[in-house]
């Protein structure tokens, strides 16, 4: 850290102004983008970097994007050097050569100039509806090389000194199954960065170039100071966390993500040297994505007050050997990485940090069991639908039960899920069921989210890209004595009554069918015997926990329904007898 020169008031004002500008960019994006993935699910991020490509502000965006943007900014500088001019706008996606996180996320980057000198960079990263490749909707579970995953975009100038390169736009659109959406969304991304660039320029002009640069430097230092204080409050030591891959998309694998975290009092060193070598399928993680997942996990543990800027990330060192799952060699496929293995990376970090700071520990979130469905409508248009109705249960944390059915861990729940009505109006689907599961959540003083059960009739032939991460075995680990959530399940039923267990990953074309998905549950926090019996009773009455589980897992004995009166004497006796057995079960799970 250098000595700050911006006075504390100007720093406070400046940091708020940068945040405000990224939010304004986000508003432009939400309102103008055409595909629902942006407008409804906010699967994009707006961020602002300094002239050297360090991200200083990212108030708007999904958490798994939070630490990856700087790689892209710096790649623009590295690739174009002196050939970067006022009015140029860049686009990129490739994780191997262009600092991208994965191919579906396109990043549009506009350097901002003041008096002829570059003072900042504004960027928008957004998940496209379709980028070609072996499967509709950007996720090709059959990929074994990145070449199977869609168009790779190196760092390109899409706007040269104010003039849009229509030829590049045509090339990009031609490589998508949804060219109309791509064109509209690209316009929204360009509009959003243009708004951001103009506002940053105005702000920099008001402060003057030199004070503006100093402000950005000082914002990075401010981020570093805050996380330094949080790290200093943790004990020094070394802790190991791990999560399993389960499948490499083709067959079961024993591969694991393993992290050793060392706190030396000033830095968190996150060493993935014991993580296994890269896998065959697209569940490898690019280095930017790995770093982002680590930052996400650390910030979620330490608290939302940690600034999401690259100053803070100076205190988190990531060691990710090349050739492992968390930093694969070309041409390993890796499109799945922003969800898997991001999920496993976050879990591994949470397991390690949970030992360091039990009060801050986060239980694991269930992995998803749904698939993507794509196909042609009767009216002729192509659709890509994320089966997001049956999301998994989230893990519990101290003082909060897990969210019952929630967007991916990599978004920390920041995905807005569809309405059944909108879903049915938009796609050739009929939803028959979308309700919470019984006994899906991991028991604990704070219960894990229970997950949902979904039944959807897909009315026409369609293509299915599976991601049965949460099926088969429990995935949401319990912490501090809490139990893991239940496993998920995915079954296909055909109109003739036959049923079929789809593979965990893979792409298939099938006729009309019924999808039956039980999503996995989140892990519990703390000893279930310590859960307030009143809450256990409410869960039983609400049909989220069975009477049998109330007794066997929580040691709570209830009278008959519908009142389920708590038998206090019997509960006391049962809880006394069972004390200790829960801890043993947790140990067994974490191996």
């Amino acid at each position: 850290m250098t000595t700050r020169r911006t006075d504390p008031i100007s720093l406070a004002l400046g940091q708020k102004q940068i945040d405000h500008i990224t939010k304004t960019m986000g508003t432009v994006m939400v309102r103008t983008a055409r595909s629902p993935i942006f407008s409804q699910s906010h699967d994009f991020s707006c961020f602002i970097g300094d002239a050297e490509g360090n991200v200083v502000g990212q108030a708007d965006g999904i958490p798994i994007h939070t630490g990856a943007g700087g790689f892209a900014l710096r790649k623009v500088l590295e690739s174009y050097g002196d050939d970067i001019h006022d009015g140029d706008v860049f686009i990129l996606s490739d994780p191997y050569v262009a600092g991208g996180n994965h191919l579906p996320d396109w990043t549009v980057i506009q350097p901002v100039f003041l008096n002829g000198a570059r003072v900042a960079m504004v960027a928008n990263r957004a998940h496209q509806s379709d980028i070609g490749g072996g499967a509709g909707g950007t996720y090709n579970a059959a990929a074994t090389e990145i070449y199977h995953e869609g168009i790779r975009i190196p760092v390109l100038k899409i706007v040269i000194e104010g003039t849009l390169r229509e030829d590049i736009v045509r090339l990009l659109c031609l490589n998508s199954r949804t060219p109309d959406l791509i064109e509209g969304d690209l316009a929204a991304m360009l509009g959003s960065t243009e708004v951001g660039a103009r506002r940053i320029r105005a702000f920099a002009a008001a402060l003057g170039s030199s004070d503006f640069r100093q402000l950005l430097d000082d914002m990075l230092d401010w981020g570093e100071e805050i996380i330094a204080a949080a790290i200093a409050s943790l004990p020094c030591g070394r802790w190991t966390g791990a999560d399993f891959m389960g499948t490499d998309c083709f067959e079961p694998t024993d591969a694991r993500i393993v992290v050793e975290i060392t706190n030396d009092g000033s830095h968190l060193i996150c060493d993935f040297s014991r993580t296994d070598v890269q896998v065959k399928g697209f569940k490898n993680s690019s280095l930017p994505n790995t770093c982002s997942a680590v930052y996400l996990a650390v910030v979620a543990t330490l608290g939302a007050h940690i600034p999401r800027n690259e100053g803070a990330y100076r205190r988190i060192k990531v060691i990710a050997p090349e050739g492992t799952i968390v930093n694969p060699r070309h041409p390993a496929p890796l499109t799945m990485c922003t969800t898997y293995p991001a999920h496993q990376i976050i879990h591994a970090v949470w397991q390690a940090l949970g030992q360091a700071a039990p009060d801050l520990a986060c239980a694991g979130w269930g992995r998803s069991s749904h698939c993507n469905t794509s196909g042609w409508r009767d009216s002729g248009g192509y659709y890509v639908a994320y089966q997001w109705l049956g999301m998994a249960g989230a893990g519990a944390a101290k003082e909060r039960d897990g969210f019952e059915s929630m967007g991916h861990i990599a978004t920390l729940g920041g995905l807005t899920l569809p309405d059944v009505e909108g879903f049915e109006a938009e796609y050739p689907f009929r939803v028959l069921l979308n309700e919470l599961r019984l006994d899906g959540g991991g028991a604990g003083r704070f219960r894990g989210g229970t997950g949902a059960r979904v039944e959807v009739d897909v009315l026409g032939p369609a293509e299915y890209s599976y991601r049965g991460e949460g099926t088969g075995v429990p995935t949401g680990f319990g912490t501090c004595g809490g139990l893991s959530g239940d496993a998920g399940h995915c079954v296909i039923a055909f109109p003739d009554g036959q049923t079929y267990l789809p593979p965990q990953y893979g792409v298939e074309k099938l006729g009309p069918l019924r999808l039956v998905i039980s999503s996995s549950g989140g892990g519990g926090y703390g000893d279930p015997n310590e859960r307030d019996p009143v809450l256990v009773r409410a869960d039983v009455r609400d049909g989220l926990v069975s009477e049998a589980s109330a007794a066997s897992q929580y040691g709570v004995v209830l009278g008959p329904g519908p009142h389920y009166a708590i038998d206090e004497a019997a509960t006391r006796a049962l809880r006394f007898a069972e004390a200790g057995s829960v801890a043993a079960a947790t140990d067994a799970w974490s191996r």
Binding site: R4, I9, A12, L13, K16, H20, T27, V28, V30, R31, T32, A33, R34, P36, S39, Q40, P63, G184, A187, G191, E194, R198, R199, A202, W222, G223, E224, E225, A300, A304, R308, M391, R400, F403, E404, S405, M406, L412, G413, G414, L415, T416, L417, P418, D419, V420, E421, G422, A425, V431, N434, E435, A452, E455, A538, R541, D542, G543, L544, P562
Partner: protein
């Protein structure tokens, strides 16, 4: 124009009273037939607001040398804005509600579409659903997205569900079935059955409460209506009886979130309509200010102790929205689009671990309040900073309700902020105030620039106790050249209610391409909807022949989540052009080759209020009186010595005051900087012209345009 109320009695004097009950004060404004306006503030009775109202009316009557019966007997109508619905939600003290929902979809309220405002705050749980899961009962029957029945309604399920719920002791019932916005036959049939079995149970159906696609918000809205009904309906009924018993022959009208009035019987059909009852009253006041001052474009900042409400008004219109969030619950009701930010006199300042000053979003409220209140507040607030800067003075504050302690203010700013920042208390206080101003600037940008308006074309209207200290610098930062501070600022919403029309908003989901060929279908749907509105007005004994109707449609490009509401006038082509020009203004581009599509249609029915014949005062020819005193005030970047402080009570229409100075009004304090000039107009408003810096918003506006 008069409210044409059938069975009108003729022995009244045409007076009107508006009552706005807030958390702290009950404001009453009386307009007599000669145009005289009388305002009063009395303490609210949080436990029995009706009692507070009767006391406030008693006081008003005494001020007119009348008995309460004489006062009420002269009134055509009493207009009431109430926070009872909002407080019921905030306090979690609503009815025990049961829900009948489509089988297979009991958990809409729990899953709540996963919406989280800040995902990083993942340790914060969702608010508890208003209806626990065991009180949500499934009913067989399906309507599809096109409105066709694909499975008949399970009447046995309705009966079984109701029986179960009655045994649990529910006090109100919500019914929300999938796709009821497209076809509500199942909801209507279920309600009929419930009413036959349990005639006294209040029942609310989603297709009447919020007939829009999207089962989460529709269900949440319906449940909220049922939840608040328990307190809203009895409260208003008993108030109405008390008023009648005390001599009111005119009617009780209630302020709705849409800025219009409604009668009691209609409130009972959807009590959630009252959720923004108080602040929506400001719209009427804006309309009056616009007329009185001949300004077309206004943005109000109503800033009190905890928050600031902003409303943008242009050419007679306010923006409207269906999407409300109250205490984390999502509710769709027709509302004035009020943007609320956590910025008030009580906003708390702290220094974070990185040595940076932060302000809010939490506030000290009125208890303990700012440290200067001497009620135990130990954290520095905006109000404390204003005292340190000499802009507020120690002593009586807010009409004498509070005594400000300057020593405490200085100590708290010094100890909790200045020491950590290693700068002096004045600079710290200036930092706090500048952060607050930045909050307000960002909030004004949200309601203007992000909706395609240039704030430089607007006059800021500062109301509420805390706004007039900030308004000048906010205006300068945005490039606005004018600020209006109405003398009636203290009773702004109550005064506004006197200008509110009776208003009824209906909306209906309709998916349709906008083209000449679909116009006949669209016109038919509009006529149907207008008939619904007309019927709703007729139910209130109103002369529908005097009603005017505003028709609009929601348009967007395929896939867009948000829609633009466009006036429904002219041909499909003209409407399309209107959409394109609005889209371009809002977003800076249009999508070539794509046709906009319809998502909803809207009809509003209005009956204009009788004009309030406000007396115009005569301008004085005299020079402004001398300042009451002079004191040292921080203005700009330093303390200026001997800045004049005027007593607002001595200023009259025609007086002109130049900055720098401070003007102390009974319920607010105005800061004028060097170059600012305030004139008091004939309607008793301060019209402040500022020298706008215009720097920052210049580019900001360009950016969107």
């Amino acid at each position: 124009m008069q409210y044409k109320i059938m069975n009108n009695r003729t022995d009244r004097a045409g007076w009107r009273i508006a009552i706005d009950v807030g958390g702290t004060f009950t404001d009453v404004v009386l307009v007599t037939s000669d145009g005289a306006v009388h305002a009063s503030k009395s303490p609210s009775h949080p436990t029995d607001p009706a009692e507070g109202i009767m006391n406030a009316l008693q006081a008003m009557a005494a001020g007119q040398h009348l008995s309460l019966g004489e006062l009420l007997g002269r009134c055509d109508s009493v207009i009431h804005g109430s926070t009872v619905a909002t407080n019921t939600v905030l306090e979690g003290k609503g009815a025990s509600v049961g829900l009948l929902c489509t089988r297979g979809f009991r958990d809409t309220l729990t899953i709540r579409r996963g919406i989280r405002v800040n995902p990083w705050e993942h340790r914060a749980p969702h608010p508890e659903p208003m209806v626990p899961r065991y009180r949500r009962r499934p009913v067989a029957g399906r309507i599809d997205a096109g409105g066709l029945e694909i499975e008949p309604l399970g009447m046995r399920d309705v009966e079984a569900g109701l029986t179960f719920l009655l045994e649990t002791g529910i006090e109100a019932l919500a019914i929300s079935f999938l796709h009821a916005y497209a076809n509500n036959a199942h909801e209507v049939a279920a309600r009929a059955m419930v009413s036959a079995l349990a005639p006294d149970l209040p029942v609310f159906i989603s297709s009447e409460i919020a007939p829009l696609i999207g089962e989460y918000v529709r269900t949440s809205s319906t449940v909220t209506a049922a939840y608040v009904s328990k307190r809203v309906v009895p409260y208003l009924t008993s108030l109405s009886r008390s008023l009648a018993g005390a001599g009111l022959h005119g009617r009780l009208h209630v302020m709705q979130s849409n800025g219009g009035l409604i009668t009691l019987d209609e409130v009972a059909r959807n009590p959630a309509l009252l959720l923004l009852s108080g602040p929506a009253g400001g719209v009427g006041a804006l309309r009056w200010i616009a007329e009185a001052t001949e300004r077309k474009r206004l943005i109000t900042m109503e800033m009190g102790g905890t928050s600031c409400d902003l409303i943008l008004f242009h050419d007679g219109h306010v923006d409207r929205t269906d999407a409300l969030e109250v205490a984390g619950y999502h509710i769709s009701i027709p509302s004035v689009d009020i943007h609320t930010v956590s910025a008030g006199g009580g906003s708390i300042a702290r220094v974070d671990q990185g040595g940076v000053l932060t302000l809010g979003p939490d506030g000290a409220g009125s208890t303990p309040g700012p440290a200067a209140y001497g009620r135990g507040g130990r954290l520095a607030t905006d109000t404390d900073a204003q005292l340190v800067l000499g802009r507020l003075a120690p002593g009586p504050f807010a009409g004498g309700a509070i005594h400000l302690d300057g020593g405490r203010a200085y100590a708290v700013v010094h100890d909790t902020v200045a020491a950590a920042l290693k700068i002096d208390a004045s600079k710290s206080a200036d930092g706090i105030v500048r952060l607050q101003q930045q909050n307000l600037v960002h909030a004004v940008e949200r309601v203007s620039i992000e909706r395609g308006f240039d704030p430089r074309d607007f006059t800021l209207v500062a109301v509420g106790g805390a706004a007039a200290l900030h308004a000048g610098s906010v205006a300068r930062a945005l490039g606005c050249s004018e600020v209006i501070i109405p003398r009636l600022a203290g009773v702004f919403c109550a005064f506004g209610m006197l200008h509110a029309p009776i208003r009824r908003d209906h909306v209906r989901t309709l998916s349709l391409q906008l083209e000449a060929a679909t116009m006949p279908q669209l016109l038919r749907a509009m006529d149907d909807l207008q008939d619904d509105v007309r019927e709703a007005l007729r139910r209130q004994d109103l002369d529908v022949s005097k009603a005017t109707f505003e028709k609009a449609i929601d348009l967007n490009y395929a896939g867009q989540q948000s829609a633009i509401t466009v006036a429904f006038e002219g041909s499909a082509m003209e409407i399309r052009e209107r959409f394109l020009s609005l889209h371009n203004a809002l977003y800076g581009h249009v999508q070539k080759g794509s046709n906009p599509q319809l998502s909803a249609i809207r009809v509003a029915g209005l009956l204009a209020p009788p004009p309030v014949p406000v007396r115009i005062r005569r301008a004085t020819a005299a020079l402004a009186p001398a300042p009451r005193l002079r004191r040292d005030v921080w203005i700009g970047d330093r303390t200026q010595l001997g800045v004049p402080v005027f007593d607002g009570a001595t200023l009259q229409p025609g007086h002109v005051i130049e900055g720098p100075c401070v003007i102390e009004e009974a319920t607010t304090t105005i800061l004028l900087e060097k170059g600012d000039r305030a004139t008091i107009d004939l309607h008793d408003n301060y019209i402040v012209s500022t020298i706008a810096a215009a720097a920052s918003s210049d580019r900001a506006v360009e950016a969107i345009a």
